[in-house]
């Protein structure tokens, strides 16, 4: 009889282990898939920026540095995003992406602030449309980021909770990093230009 009890306990332990493991895998898959949504929107944003620069260039010849800063920030954001998409949740990659996105938002913010003083540019249809699309993409990024962070949170909680924490180290379920808001502190401080 004792043999059977031991067997029963053994089976229960194996089943519990498998359940916990599968649950962690599911949670990890979920947040990795959630990053794909951010990725789609960010790529859309990166595709819009060269068009924007093209339009703006004709009107703002004296603002070369600002334009170059935007292009530079965009390119480094593209590479930071590629790195992050390869390994969502990785602390280094997530922090790099946040920083690069912050730079890009800041550079774009300065560009839009400057563009206010060019009435011809403001009247340009393409410019208005691009600005609208960029801000709409921005909103979608924010929504997708929220979904990603929620998924990362439930994964992190899942791996730290007892008894899953006993196995999360053993099977390399490392802590995942949230994607912080891409708004740079500088941008938050920047006064809104109104006319």
């Amino acid at each position: 009889m004792t043999g059977m009890i031991i067997l029963g306990i053994l089976i229960a332990a194996v089943v519990a282990l498998a359940l916990m493991y599968n649950n962690l895998v599911t949670l990890r898959n979920r947040f990795k898939n959630a990053f794909a949504q951010i990725d789609v929107q960010l790529k859309r944003r990166y595709d819009l920026i060269p068009n924007l620069v093209e339009v703006v260039k004709k009107y703002m010849q004296h603002e070369r540095e600002t334009l170059e800063a935007v292009i530079k920030a965009r390119n480094s954001a593209v590479s930071a995003n590629n790195q992050a998409a390869g390994n969502p949740g990785d602390p280094g990659a997530m922090k790099n992406l946040s920083a690069a996105e912050g730079m890009l938002s800041g550079a774009l913010g300065r560009l839009f602030a400057l563009s206010e003083s060019y009435p011809d540019l403001k009247a340009n249809q393409n410019m208005a449309q691009l600005q609208e699309e960029l801000s709409s993409t921005e909103n979608r990024v924010a929504f997708a980021r929220q979904a990603f962070n929620d998924a990362v949170m439930s994964y992190n909680i899942g791996r730290e909770k007892f008894p899953a924490n006993l196995i999360s180290g053993m099977f390399h379920f490392t802590e995942a990093q949230l994607l912080e808001s891409t708004e740079s502190p500088e941008e938050k401080k920047a006064p809104k230009v109104t006319f």
Partner: protein, 627 residues
Amino acid sequence: MNFFEHQQESKQKTALLAGCFALAVAAIILSVYAVIMSVIFSQNSDSGAAPAPWFNPDVFTGVAITVLMIILGGSLFKIIAMGRGGPYIAESLGGRPISQATTDVDELKFIHVVEEMALASGISVPAAYVLDREPGINAFAAGYRPEDAVVAVTDGCLRRLSRDELQGVVAHEFSHILNGDMRLNIRLIGMISGILVIASIGNILLRTSSNSRKNGMPFIALGLAFIVIGYVGVLAARIIQSAISRQREFLADASAVQFTRNPSGIAQALKKIGGFAKGSKIRSPRASETSHMFFSTAISSLFATHPALTERIQRIDPSFSREFPTAGDTLKIMTPDPSLVSGLAANRNFRGFQPEGVSQSVGTMDGGHVKFSLMLLDAIPGAVRAELNDPLGASAVVFALLLDTNETEKKNQMDALSKMMPEPVGSLTENLHAAVNSLDARLKLPLLDLSLPALRRMSDRQYQDFLRAVKILAEADGKLSLFEFTLQIIIRSRLEAAFHPATARVPRKNIDDLTDDIIRLISRLAMEGHADPAAEKNAFSAGMNILPLPGPFEMGNPSFQEVETAILQLANAAPGIRKSVLDACAGCILFDRQVTAEEAELVRAVSYALDLPTPPFLEGGRLKTEG
């Protein structure tokens, strides 16, 4: 056969399975008992004690309970794990979800085919997955219920098949979804892995006892016996599984031809598999347990899960010469029989529409429906279509569907919405409202369905916010139409499965217990669209008389809350009851035979809410695309 008969058959197959399973378990218990008794005998004869009787009730109960616990535990564990829904199964096989926003042409083609088939059949658009690391041509559908279903194709399938062939394959998978095969599959998998646990225990016994020298022998014998019993049991289960699985494959092939009205599509796909060196092989090590869910043989084994390719092709295309085209060959395209392709009846009125036919059409579709769903997709304005690609835009589309046309009511709703959701949603909804509102009535349910894949990608928290906003929009004005009210129920029932995977529901089998719920629903439907009380009464009795219930019935005046509870109760009823209820609803709504597109869509919305996949009604002519 119709939808209900297929469902019934699937149930009977499950019952048959349960019977075979019980027999197998009994056989296993007896064998294990025999093995243990012989071990005891051999021990006793060594020590020279008196031989024990052959039947020892204590040992027998012990063995029976342990074996039952092990097998049922193993099966339940697997069924629960699989019951977490299609995404779980697809991801465990290495699947990657793809969305509308993809830039890959082949992926986009696949998504569009899935959308067309879903709209044509009336089930919610399933999530689309690609198995990137699989070069073979294969596909599968998985999930516990149609609402959490996924359709997955291998990379080889995606890249090598033409659109028509892909459509044939996807139609085949939709047949599995519609005919209840997915649940059958999950039970099969559960049963086999339960028996497999016995063999695994044998393995463990063998390994642990070969390490310890003392008293090792009986345990080694026991371990070996367990392994043999386990594998013989699995073998028996595989035979049952393959017998059932092959029949369902023929049914799915036949349905695919019926759905697409294009026998050449699926036939060519099968021929390509036959002529392709990698065939339909799946490399993932987890494919063995899910092998019978695939479109074609995923792993070669002694017991074929699928009928032979040549036999499948010959049933579709009798002229097939048994010679497969090799991959390089240009394929001869069979031209579809023109008599099979029915044109859409143009400009006909809904007058010819028969309420009696509604339940007959549930779970079916044909080439006409697929063509019609293409028209529906075309008629959705590009600006609205673009919003369906991401969760934020998709939720704005759903909110726009729920907005009232009355300006003051709309303002109330918008105020409530802007308090609930982050800012851009409000303005997006506002922008979309005009476009959504002017759409043909028949586009509203498809639009809702198309928004689901994006909405499923919200996080739990975002989903809760979204649900609350939907509820508030619906309740912001007390005069919300029944159609919009039903939309709200559909949204919840179709999305819930993605966020809170299937909880086993015990179907209500007795229609008498549901009489009050049916009266509430039919009363509400009768009140809709009939101005004077006499007409309401007539519509009510027209509906109730269809039901196999003894009258007379008193028409009530239920609140929306009561109707909602009623619908949720009825959605949980056995398929036969839901069929009668749908017939009664159709009889009530279409009672005066003056059927408008709005009324027909209300019937369809009710059938959605009752969890019955009803294809679009083709009568009624051209779609109104603007103004």
